[in-house]
């Protein structure tokens, strides 16, 4: 299976001119619990603790373990999180991730970038 669980997880972080944080997972990765934890830690470090609107690019993500889902239910430094994926596989995986309904952070799945950005920048509370 693709992706590797070594400490050098190939996650990328960038910030666009609107202030949105973009996290990109490598293609073919099966996200495990430790990977999920590392991702959350690195996001915290990247934002310096500030809560910012965030896109998680999961194009090409091949799997998500139960443990990883558990990690993602915790609090993270994102004001809102948009999961961005194109294929039916990504949609299935994303919905497994969304199914645990105790999320502190509002989260939704989007198939297009525009829809994701639109939701993130819209004012007012939403899930």
């Amino acid at each position: 299976m693709g992706g590797d669980a070594e400490s050098e997880l190939d996650l990328t972080f960038r910030r666009d001119e609107r202030g949105i944080v973009w996290i990109t997972w490598p293609r073919g990765i099966h996200i495990t619990g430790p990977m999920a934890e590392e991702a959350m830690d690195r996001l915290d470090a990247y934002t310096g603790g500030r809560k910012l609107p965030t896109v998680v690019e999961m194009v090409g993500v091949a799997g998500l373990t139960r443990d990883a889902r558990q990690v993602f239910t915790g609090e993270c430094t994102a004001s809102r999180m948009a999961l961005l994926g194109g294929s039916p596989v990504e949609r299935v995986i994303a919905n497994f991730a969304l199914a645990a309904s105790r999320y502190e952070t509002p989260m939704r799945f989007f198939a297009t970038e525009d829809a994701a950005v639109d939701w993130l920048t819209r004012a007012g509370p939403d899930r």
């Binding site: 090409g60 091949a62 998500l64 139960r66 039916p88 596989v89 990504e90 299935v92 995986i93 497994f96």
Partner: protein
């Protein structure tokens, strides 16, 4: 670009069907890898994999909890069983488990195995320890007794605690000889003093044995062993008796007597008779012994030997003793007021060891004296020598309280037991009543004469007063007087008579010698 080596959609759907079949048949670890296409079939594949993972995890979780719960239930069950079958204080089997073991042993009889023996024992002297030192010490004593009992039996035998200070042993597949051996070992084990906390205690045991016969139930065997133990106790502490059928009838009689006695006390069926005690020199009546009689509605006039045992075993000795002292003291007060003038006089009243061990007994007696107006120095309590047991502190306190108030203390039937006069002295005694067996042939048997002489000399040397009991002939009286015995009691001077008759005797005889019968 489609990969020419990839499986066709139909092939991948077949794979999915296989995956579902495997999962359905319980192989929750089954998974299928999605292709690189990332299409809808891959989405279903990934989704199925994730659902299977979830199901597998929940299942393992459930199984783990079932294992834990089962373990907890088993533990609780074992604990309940322990509570239901074992005595919490000593860890010995309880009555329920004991009955079960007896039943198991009885089942063996059908297979030609030897019968079990049931031994029932209770501790002589346990009540004294418990009353003197408290329940904590009493409990420690019971625990140690339990430990010693377990040491002397075989692995195939069962030791049980039935409650209080009662224990039982079931010796499986045994003979009467071996049962007696076990009884012997038990008594030896309990001969050594027991350290209970800070106190060293001595207890003995009376043991009843029942050899089982085919067809008997556990309940019957225990009851019979209990009856035998009762008989063993009655014959003196530390006895062992096998059950005999005749014992059962006796036991039933005792129960009936106890019930009737309860009524007797409240229905005025009791009467007090008085036997004169005379001064040998001059034969003046100087006192009486009060003897309770029971005018039974059917059986007629009964003497104390026909119901005192039952009274002591059932605790009826307390109300009985209360009646005795109330009646005797009231009568004493009347005599003192009406006929005795200022003559020296002693009202002798028998008291049981159970009463002496009661912390309130001395106060009760002194209270009755005060209320009736009788004089404490006119009262003498009599204790039978053989009934004294051990150096009981409460008994000593009771006697001390009575003597301090002026009440006299006499040892009855002296010479029929094994105590030394020195020991008696330590118990705050004034008078020794020499047993009739030592008086019987004092005038005809030289040996008896010498024995009586020795005892009377000792009594004198310790500064005590001697009363000879059972004097029937003038010759006996003469010999005793010559040996220095001061007082006598017996048919020579009269049988026990009711109060009105004694009043008549006292009116005339206090100043004159007692008439001979």
């Amino acid at each position: 670009m489609p990969d020419p080596t990839a499986e066709s959609p139909d092939e991948r759907l077949d794979e999915l069907v296989e995956l579902v079949v495997e999962l359905a048949s319980g192989h929750l670890g089954a998974r299928r890898a999605p292709s690189a296409a990332g299409d809808r079939i891959d989405a279903v594949t990934v989704g199925l994999n994730m659902l299977a993972e979830e199901l597998q995890a929940l299942n393992e979780d459930l199984e783990q909890r079932v294992v834990e719960r089962t373990h907890q239930v088993e533990q609780a069950h074992r604990q309940l069983q322990r509570l239901a079958l074992y005595d919490p204080l000593t860890g010995l089997a309880n009555r329920t488990l004991l009955a079960d073991r007896i039943d198991q042993a009885m089942a063996g009889l059908d297979r030609g195995v030897e019968p079990p023996a049931v031994l029932l024992l209770d501790l002589d002297g346990f009540k004294v320890v418990n009353d003197s030192f408290g329940h904590v010490v009493g409990d420690r004593l019971l625990v140690e007794v339990a430990r010693r009992l377990q040491e002397v039996v075989r692995d195939t035998d069962t030791v049980a605690r039935l409650g209080g200070d009662e224990f039982a042993v079931v010796a499986a597949a045994t003979t009467a000889t071996r049962a007696i051996e076990i009884a012997g070992r038990i008594q030896d084990a309990l001969k050594r003093p027991i350290q209970a906390g800070a106190h060293q205690c001595w207890v003995g045991t009376s043991i009843g044995i029942r050899m089982a016969e085919p067809g008997q139930t556990a309940e019957t065997l225990l009851r019979d062993a209990d009856t035998a133990m009762y008989v063993a106790k009655g014959q003196g502490r530390g006895g062992v008796r096998f059950f005999e059928p005749a014992m059962h009838a006796t036991a039933l009689v005792r129960v009936r007597v106890a019930e009737e006695l309860r009524t007797a006390i409240s229905d005025d069926q009791l009467e007090m008779h008085y036997q004169p005690i005379v001064e040998l020199d001059g034969e003046r009546i100087t006192g009486v012994e009060a003897l309770v009689r029971w005018r039974h509605p059917v059986r007629g006039l009964l003497g104390p030997e026909q119901f005192i045992d039952v009274a002591e075993d059932t605790g009826l000795v307390v109300p009985l003793g209360g009646w005795v002292f109330e009646t005797a003291i009231a009568q004493l007060a009347r005599w003192r007021a009406d006929v005795l003038g200022r003559t020296a006089f002693g009202m002798h009243v028998n008291v049981s060891p159970l009463e002496l061990r009661s912390p309130s007994f001395a106060e009760d007696v002194l209270g009755r004296l005060v209320r009736s107006g009788a004089v404490a120095t006119d009262l003498v309590v009599e204790i039978t020598e053989t009934q004294l047991m051990g150096e009981d502190p409460q008994t000593a306190r009771t006697l001390d309280t009575l003597r301090t108030a002026g009440v006299g203390v006499a040892i009855d039937d002296f010479g029929s037991g094994y105590s030394s006069i020195g020991y008696i002295r330590r118990l705050f005694v004034d008078t020794i009543k020499v047993d009739r067996s030592l008086v019987a042939d004092v005038d005809t048997d030289a040996q008896q004469h010498r024995v009586a002489a020795a005892i009377l000399t000792l009594v004198e040397a310790f500064g005590l007063t001697a009363v000879a009991e059972g004097v029937e002939t003038a010759a006996q009286a003469a010999h005793l007087r010559a040996l220095g015995c001061r007082y006598g009691q017996g048919y020579l001077w009269g049988r026990p008579v009711p109060a009105d008759v004694m009043t008549g005797l006292l009116s005339t005889a206090v100043q004159e010698p007692a008439p001979r019968s």
